[in-house]
């Protein structure tokens, strides 16, 4: 069991800034996120898109903001537990115990939930029969490339992931690239390659159409596509790869006994504590009168929450408000001389 002052759930911008606000107050923290990297929605949904409303930063991308935040919290050497999802929370006197899907256990007086809209998961195919093939013949990502050799592969999607894998897997498998419209969206170089590969007969492109059914019992035998003109086509298929992006799922958070409304957690706007003492919610996932889902609002929320975290983690010490410009203690914590 890992002991810390605060367990932060979610490594988006607000979760990262939580490390800072706790750190300058002398509190330790660890941070858990279901994604394989820090940044949350900033890195997963709009790494290259500009953000214009971070105070004093006229323009930056999601990726730049994440990088800067990581740089800002570097002095605190915080441990990140990525690719990991919190499954269970339970009370232990004044503390909370957190368990993850990788069987890690943490104990702390405070939990800060900076979970955005929940954890990211691949958007799955809606067909009823899709479930039984999942992870055997139907995949939402490519982990072990060996499984995709010398097969008939149907790739669904019109974006970069679908295009990149179509090119890569066409080296050793028969590829049908299937999309609901004629237009694909990808890097210019990728689009040129796709066209070239189609001409050379290395990739078959099927558009505009959608998946009608997956045929097979123990394994996939074929799929049926329905074209916009009403025609259907059956295609021999061993493996389906589907790239319809990511969705956000609230997941286990809904089962922790917190007061919720419409997928958000209710908090007070004084210290952003939930109905459970020592559990705080900040950023997009919290809800209070006047709430705005802005990164800058999340920064404010976590600054206030960290004060209450201090009081709970150091019940015998007096909290003293300090400025980073003038506090020698804070400057030492930041490694400044």
């Amino acid at each position: 069991m890992i002991k810390t002052d605060t367990i932060i759930i979610g490594a988006g911008p607000v979760g990262l800034f939580a490390v800072h606000q706790l750190g300058i107050k002398g509190l330790s923290s660890i941070i858990i996120d279901n994604l394989d990297k820090a940044g949350g929605q900033c890195i997963e949904l709009y790494p290259d898109k500009p953000i214009y409303d971070i105070p004093a930063v006229p323009e930056c991308t999601g990726e730049e903001l994440t990088k800067k935040l990581l740089e800002q919290i570097k002095p605190f050497n915080t441990k990140f537990f990525l690719n990991e999802r919190v499954e269970e929370i339970k009370q232990d006197n004044q503390n909370w115990i957190v368990k993850t899907n990788k069987k890690n256990e943490f104990i702390a007086p405070n939990i800060i939930i900076a979970g955005g809209v929940g954890s990211f998961e691949p958007r799955k195919l809606a067909l009823k029969e899709a479930g039984k093939f999942e992870d055997k013949f139907l995949f939402y990502s490519v982990r072990d490339i060996e499984k995709f050799k010398n097969k008939n592969i149907a790739i669904f999607g019109g974006g970069d992931s679908a295009l990149d894998w179509a090119l890569e897997l066409s080296k050793f498998s028969k590829i049908n690239l299937i999309h609901r419209r004629d237009e694909f969206r990808g890097a210019p170089h990728t689009l040129t390659e796709i066209k070239k590969f189609e001409k050379e007969g290395k990739i078959n492109i099927k558009t505009p159409c959608q998946l009608e059914s997956i045929d097979g019992d123990e394994k996939i035998n074929s799929i049926t596509l329905k074209f916009d003109n009403g025609k259907s086509e059956k295609i021999q298929t061993d493996i389906i790869l589907s790239f319809f992006g990511l969705i956000m799922k609230l997941g286990p958070i809904a089962e922790w006994g917190l007061n919720m409304s419409k997928k958000t957690i209710e908090v007070n706007s004084e210290n952003f504590e939930t109905n459970k003492k020592g559990i705080f919610a900040v950023g997009d996932i919290c809800n209070y009168p006047g709430k705005l889902k802005l990164i800058l609002s999340g920064f404010h929320e976590v600054a206030l929450a960290s004060v209450e975290c201090f009081k709970r983690a150091r019940p015998n010490e007096k909290y003293r408000f300090e400025f980073t410009t003038s506090s020698k203690t804070i400057q030492n914590r930041l490694g400044k001389k």
């Binding site: 949904l45 809209v117 958007r123 999309h179 237009e183 319809f244 956000m248």
Partner: protein
């Protein structure tokens, strides 16, 4: 105020007044319309406010930009009349429009 009708996938419909200048998505959230999740809050990043727009209104809407069409690619059962309701700004011209929600948003 313009009236917008939200019809769910089971055929139930609810007509509400929505202030001009708000989006069809915001009108749904304010009026507790089911089947419109709007997880990303209107930044064209999630496709969970996907609706089908009644044909005759399509031409009255501002054309979808690339980012919206790309996001609709990700939506559940996209059709020719698919739009993201967060991109549909309500005006008097849209008074009486009906949008239908798909069976699922994710």
């Amino acid at each position: 105020m313009p009236k917008i009708t939200y019809q769910d996938s089971k055929g139930n419909s609810k007509t509400v007044e929505v202030e001009s200048g708000l989006t069809v998505m915001e009108g749904a959230i304010q009026n507790d319309i089911p089947e419109i999740d709007a997880d990303c809050g209107g930044s064209m990043a999630c496709a969970t406010c996907h609706v089908y727009v009644e044909e005759k209104w399509l031409s009255k809407l501002i054309k979808a930009e690339d980012a919206e069409v790309d996001m609709i690619d990700m939506a559940y059962e996209p059709k020719k009349n698919s739009r993201l309701s967060c991109q549909l700004v309500i005006s008097d011209e849209l008074d009486g429009m009906t949008v239908t929600t798909p069976a699922k948003q994710s």
